[in-house]
Symmetry: C2
Subunit: 233 residues, 2 copies
């Protein structure tokens, strides 16, 4: 026991060694025509910080990233995509994984028929903007019969009823943990360096103080390491 | 004459000294709700290169820029905006100007009623995406009775019938020159470092070879310096 404790102190970063962590980050871009698209304000900072923290904890990390302006975290395998459908394909290709952390702000909808030429008229634009549902990456993976990562973590970016929406999302998506945050413009979370999160699971709700996104990532990876420690490698 | 030629060789960069050049660059972002928006693939590189070239030529330069990931060009007064309406307001505030160069890819439309809360349902999103026309910055300034910059340059980003569309745009907008280019995905112009442009004016069409965006900027500023040389300061 003493040896184990000393080993943990000497190598606190090995808690996820031997594990494969699959992380998504950033927005998705959904094309309207060759030049226009629907986007969202996710900067990717929180997901990139998590990928880095997981790598620091010894995990092999695959980071599937939407379009962001961030450098690849060192030691992380980065796969860059644009749309939700490309993100789902890249995530499925990266399986199997021990932990799935889905921090990307995936567009819920895409344009039904993206134009092959630049749209010139407002009438054509209005009809071009008929929407269809995108695949739900978190729910798709959480509900897989085979190859479901044993620990599935989703994110909920809300602007109202943050915890209530996150609790509903936990049930609807079938994941093990939701990291919920308030992304109202006034909070400055989207694009900013700080985050105030609530961990929502079947066990209850835990609210963390406002921390840097790096600290949120480190604490989250610590928590996931504890949970993953009970899992077979 | 010899002295003038030597002066020009020694200070080829003074051709626009005493002039105020107003340049726009980048995309605009049109909000759908607090987290989602409509964007376009303009990187701002061509407009930033033009602002820099105009400053190198001795002009006082105001650069009104949409959201891009480019550093401020040295010696240029940069005003950052998000939406088309913010861009128009910033442009009008920067008047008077001797030359207006409108390289921004301004969104033609915006969402009629951007949501104050994050939209949860696809039905709500579809109705949220009813579009209305944005102000036309180039046409608004070109048709001003007072305070019209004497030399107005527009850009036309097309994916088909490039020159024909640019010629129509020249007439419709009331500007003096259109710089037209093909932004089909295959050309790699949007976001890339090269550009193949056509100069379309009442005098005719001039097609330049494929050049770096820096070279296009330098050649364009040279051409505008010649035209502006005939204007009173």
């Amino acid at each position: 026991e003493i040896v184990a404790a000393v080993e943990k102190l000497l190598s606190p970063s090995g808690a996820l060694s031997g594990k494969h962590a699959l992380v998504t980050a950033g927005p998705t871009h959904e094309p309207i025509d060759p030049v226009r698209y629907i986007a969202n304000r996710s900067s990717g900072k929180q997901g990139y910080a998590i990928a880095r923290a997981a790598a620091d904890a010894g995990a092999r990390v695959t980071l599937v990233s939407g379009p962001v302006d961030l450098p690849d975290p060192p030691g992380v395998n980065v796969v860059r995509v644009e749309s939700a459908r490309e993100m789902l394909a890249a995530v499925e290709k990266a399986l199997p994984a021990d932990i799935g952390i889905f921090a990307a702000a995936v567009a819920d909808w895409r344009v039904a028929h993206a134009g092959e030429q630049k749209i010139k008229k407002i009438g054509d634009a209005s009809s071009a903007l008929s929407l269809i549902e995108n695949p739900d990456i978190l729910a798709t993976l959480s509900h897989r019969k085979e190859g479901r990562p044993p620990l599935m973590v989703g994110f909920a970016a809300e602007t109202e009823k943050v915890i209530e929406n996150a609790q509903q999302k936990l049930l609807r998506k079938g994941c093990d943990l939701i990291v919920a945050n308030d992304v109202s413009t006034a909070t400055g979370v989207m694009g900013g360096d700080q985050n105030t999160v609530h961990l929502v699971s079947a066990a209850g709700v835990e609210t963390w103080p406002t921390l840097s996104k790096t600290e949120v990532a480190r604490k989250l990876v610590e928590r996931l390491s504890d949970l993953a420690g009970a899992m077979p490698s």
